[in-house]
């Protein structure tokens, strides 16, 4: 006899609704992957706060809903970053909007919907970069992802403009699953902007997994800006594999989000790589923003640098869990990790867990985590210089997070982020 408890029943209802809404997942083309993830979803329980990786982030509000899927008409221009000079690929609730998108066509460069690329057999290693068989929510994405972006940049190629992927969550009770795949071949250079938005009355669940392969000497820069109003649950996962002498940079700026969970996983497979992970978050009201990162140093002579800064206000919760993993052979690794937080109210909560797991001896690894508040003396100093209380605090907020925001190379995007942050600090 099978024992069915209330939790399992809810999970079954959740999965049943998704089965009905997403009948044509991407992974249909890869039967084994699809079956394996479906099997995991059915046999494994969904993560709860008793699962170590989900200790501070509740998933029940996602699991306890029966999501549907609809694609309303949305004008992408209303949400897009102003004056951004980029190739724009628009998705609404996970579905590609060809008529609102532009993409480059050139020799040695492929940018197209992942579904089309998969059907044409152009994707090598689909689903192989994200190697977390136990992670329930990643399996969820594999089982239901309906589309995404496929980018293949040939040897030594560059695109003059960044690829801008805009995802809009709209309507009510709609789930959306995207899966992107970027392959940057040897010596090539790719800039991607991933922007997710939602309007104020949207309710939804958006899950996105990005797989990236950065070949030797290549570089991949991602700017990830999350700015979802309304009641949107977002789970965003990156899996990036770096080959020798490659560079990978990512800046995660969470301007708004009702419930956001970011999982960054970087596997450093080749020597002499550089990895930079920057992030900032400023939750207000009852928002819940969770950043998990993992850098897996598998080979010698690499360096990674990680800085996450957050300001937690109102009744919001911030979570940071960074892990640096240095394998036995990864000698001469240079890894740095820092998390700094400011807490503004007594109802705000911050959970920080900077982890180091080190199996090699000739390494330099350090991490730091601080939590405090604005320096009242600094506020006083600025006020004595004639600034209002409001502007003084805004200036200090800017000073605190500028390290992250200034790292964004694109002017239009940086201004967009600054504007968002200023709005935030005004409450």
């Amino acid at each position: 006899m099978e024992v069915v408890n209330a939790t399992d029943q809810k999970k079954e209802a959740f999965l049943g609704a998704l089965d009905a809404a997403f009948q044509q997942p991407l992974a249909s083309a890869k039967g084994a992957l699809l079956n394996a993830s479906r099997e995991t979803l059915r046999t494994q329980p969904a993560p709860t706060t008793r699962t170590e990786a989900w200790k501070y982030t509740r998933t029940t509000r996602i699991i306890n809903q029966a999501w549907s899927h609809a694609v309303p008409t949305v004008d992408a221009d209303a949400f897009a970053v102003n004056d951004l000079d980029a190739w724009r690929l628009v998705f609404v609730n996970g579905v590609f909007q060809a008529e609102q998108s532009t993409w480059p066509e050139a020799e040695g460069l492929t940018v197209k919907p992942l579904r089309v690329a998969l059907e044409a057999g152009e994707v090598e290693g689909f689903g192989e970069k994200s190697n977390t068989p136990d992670e329930w929510f990643e399996n969820l994405n594999m089982a239901y992802a309906s589309d995404g972006v496929f980018i293949h940049l040939g040897k030594n190629k560059q695109i003059e403009k960044p690829i801008y992927i805009l995802h809009i969550t709209a309507g009510e009770q709609s789930a959306a699953f995207n899966r992107h795949f970027f392959h940057v071949a040897q010596g090539a250079q790719l800039n991607v902007i991933q922007h997710s938005v939602a309007d104020a009355d949207a309710e939804g669940f958006y899950s996105v997994v990005t797989e990236g392969a950065v070949d030797a000497n290549a570089s991949l820069h991602i700017d990830k800006v999350q700015n979802e109003a309304g009641k949107v649950f977002q789970h965003a996962v990156e899996w990036v594999h770096q080959d020798r002498d490659s560079k990978f940079d990512i800046r995660t700026v969470t301007l708004r989000g009702h419930w956001v969970r970011n999982n960054l996983n970087i596997a450093v497979n080749g020597e002499n790589c550089s990895t930079r992970l920057y992030g900032t978050y400023m939750p207000i009201e009852k928002e819940h923003l969770d950043n998990h990162t993992m850098v897996d140093h598998r080979v010698p002579h690499c360096e990674s640098d990680e800085v996450y800064k957050g300001i937690v206000n109102d009744k919001a919760t911030g979570v940071f869990n960074g892990k640096v993993f240095v394998r036995q052979d990864a000698q001469k690794t240079n890894a740095f990790q820092q998390n700094a937080n400011i807490i503004l109210t007594d109802d705000a909560q911050m959970y920080s867990k900077p982890e180091l797991e080190i199996y090699a001896d000739d390494v330099k690894c350090s991490h730091g985590s601080t939590t405090g508040q604005f320096d009242e003396e600094a506020v006083f100093y600025l006020r004595a210089r004639g600034l209002s209380e409001q502007s003084a605090r805004e200036l200090l907020v800017y000073a605190f997070v500028s390290e992250i925001i200034e790292a964004i190379g694109n002017d239009a995007l940086r201004n967009y982020c600054l504007e968002g942050l200023t709005k935030r600090s005004r409450g």
Binding site: E52, Q328, Q331, N341, I343, L344, T345, D346, D347, A348, Q349, M350, Y351, S352, K353, P354, E355, L356, E357, I358, Y359, A360, D361, D362, V363, K364, C365, S366, H367, G368, S369, T370, T371, G372, Q373
Partner: protein
């Protein structure tokens, strides 16, 4: 055994456990296994009152429903709890007034441990409550302490003579069902130390207990309870050595500290249980729950030097309940060969203006794994709480591991919390400098390691600090990588 014979070279490179021998005393032993009958047997053996037996049985019932934790970063063959004998006591039964009445065999054991009791009495004024295999066999300086109203005796004696204190405080900081090992300990603990410092008394000497696991296959389940009443002070020393054995021995102790208003407790540990041989065979499993509760203006300070045990699972913690209370944790953990340590602390800030400091120094050598796991929790009520944590790791070889898992949970906007951690190896330039000055490599490493751990060693009482330095050197012998 090393030490005999002429192979000096071997002794230096592969020094075996110095304190590994077996004392030959007949012991009174319970059959292996754990059941309500065994608990009744232990309780009856110890002539305990009914409330104590019921307390144990309640703990046992809760234990049967608990699962052994597996979240720690250690890997071991889980002990079979039904093959352990839960009671073993040296034959000697009658109460003793002075050490001279002690069995000569036991005296010799103490001498080999380096505790020449007479000398200790004279030089350092230490009252040693010598615990050998779960039953206290000798208590010294008792009368002197008695004059000040200080109660320092074995737990079994305390249960008989001070039941009101034991009843009030036992399990008040570490509840019976706190965790798997604490529940097991609550059910079967055979003895331990009890200490009560009355109001306003400053204990004039270091209180200390030496633990030894002796009987093959006997788990040692110590229970220590230290209560410092308002405005009092005491410093408590705990040191451990255990004989060499091939089968794994289980040690699941519980230590509870209670510092009432304005009181201060300083608890120092040098832990040197048998770590197993270089292939990881044998060695003690050390699963310990240590926790202290601070009332208003109170201070609890944990200092530990961990060099032994095959597996260490130990998180001495402070609950900073009262306003202005202070918690401190200073630790040096050394792992060599196949040792695995998962140790750290928890600082729970509840009261206003509470402060805590964590200094943890990990040293891994051989093929060992050394983890720091700590929690700093600032609750909503803890205005102006302050924490500083520093966790450094030193790696001696390329086959060992050093890990840091700090948990920081903050729910108050006035909190100031800092955490930093570094991992590195001994600089080649540092060794080169020492070699150039005429030191050999072993000595150079010992010097550098001692310097690295100085911050913590300085917190130890003098007698302990000397022993700790020696232990560090011994533990790292032959580990030059």
């Amino acid at each position: 055994m090393a030490y005999e014979g002429d192979e000096i070279l071997e002794e230096v490179t592969r020094k075996e456990y110095e304190f590994g021998w077996i004392t030959d005393i007949e012991s009174d032993k319970a059959p292996p296994g754990l059941s309500e009958e065994i608990i009744r047997f232990i309780s009856a053996k110890k002539n305990e009152p009914l409330w104590m037996l019921e307390w144990r049985l309640d703990a046992y019932r809760q234990w049967t429903e608990m699962k052994e934790p597996n979240w720690a970063h250690v890997d071991y063959q889980k002990p079979d709890y039904q093959s352990i004998s839960y009671y073993s006591a040296p034959k000697q039964k009658k109460q003793l007034d002075s050490l001279d009445e002690v069995d000569p065999e036991l005296r010799r054991t103490m001498d080999r441990l380096g505790i020449s009791t007479e000398e200790q009495k004279r030089l350092s004024g230490v009252a040693v409550d010598f615990v050998m295999d779960s039953v206290s066999v000798a208590t010294s300086f008792k009368e002197k302490l008695g004059e000040l109203g200080i109660i320092f005796c074995s737990m079994s004696e305390a249960i008989q003579s001070h039941p009101e204190l034991v009843k009030k405080y036992l399990g008040s900081v570490v509840p019976k069902n706190d965790n798997f090992f604490a529940a097991l300990n609550s059910a079967v603990f055979t003895d331990g130390s009890f200490c009560y410092i009355p109001k306003g008394v400053r204990c004039p000497m270091e209180l200390s207990t030496y633990f030894r696991i002796n009987e093959a296959g006997t788990g040692q389940f110590e229970r220590t309870l230290v209560v410092a009443d308002k405005g009092s002070y005491c410093s408590y020393l705990e040191g451990c050595t255990a004989p060499q054995r091939d089968e794994n021995q289980l040690h699941a102790a519980v230590v509870e500290l209670i510092a009432l208003d304005d009181a201060e407790i300083k608890y120092s540990t040098v832990q040197n249980w048998y770590p197993g041989d270089e292939n990881g065979k044998g060695g003690v499993f050390n699963f310990v729950t240590k926790r202290g509760l601070c009332e208003k203006n109170a201070k609890i300070s944990w200092t530990q030097v961990e060099t032994g045990s095959a597996i260490t699972w130990k998180y001495p913690s402070c609950i900073l309940k009262g306003d202005n209370s202070v918690g401190e944790f200073y630790s040096v953990a050394v792992t060599n060969n196949r040792q695995q340590a998962d140790t750290g602390t928890k600082m729970i800030h509840i009261g206003k203006n509470t402060h805590s400091t964590i200094i943890s120094k990990g040293i891994s050598a051989g093929k060992s794994q050394n983890s720091y796991r700590g929690l700093v929790q600032i609750n909503k009520t803890a205005q102006n709480a302050r924490n500083f944590s520093q966790c450094d790791s030193l790696l001696m070889t390329d086959r060992c591991g050093a890990h840091t898992f700090p948990y920081i949970e903050i729910k108050n906007s006035t909190a100031k919390v800092e955490h930093e951690a570094t991992t590195s190896k001994i600089g080649e330039d540092q060794i080169f400098y020492c070699l150039q000055r005429g030191l050999d490599e072993e000595k150079a490493i010992s010097l550098i390691v001692n310097g690295y751990a100085k911050e913590v060693l300085n917190k130890l009482p003098m007698e302990f600090a000397v022993e700790a330095q020696k232990l560090l050197a011994i533990s790292l012998e032959g580990s030059v990588g």
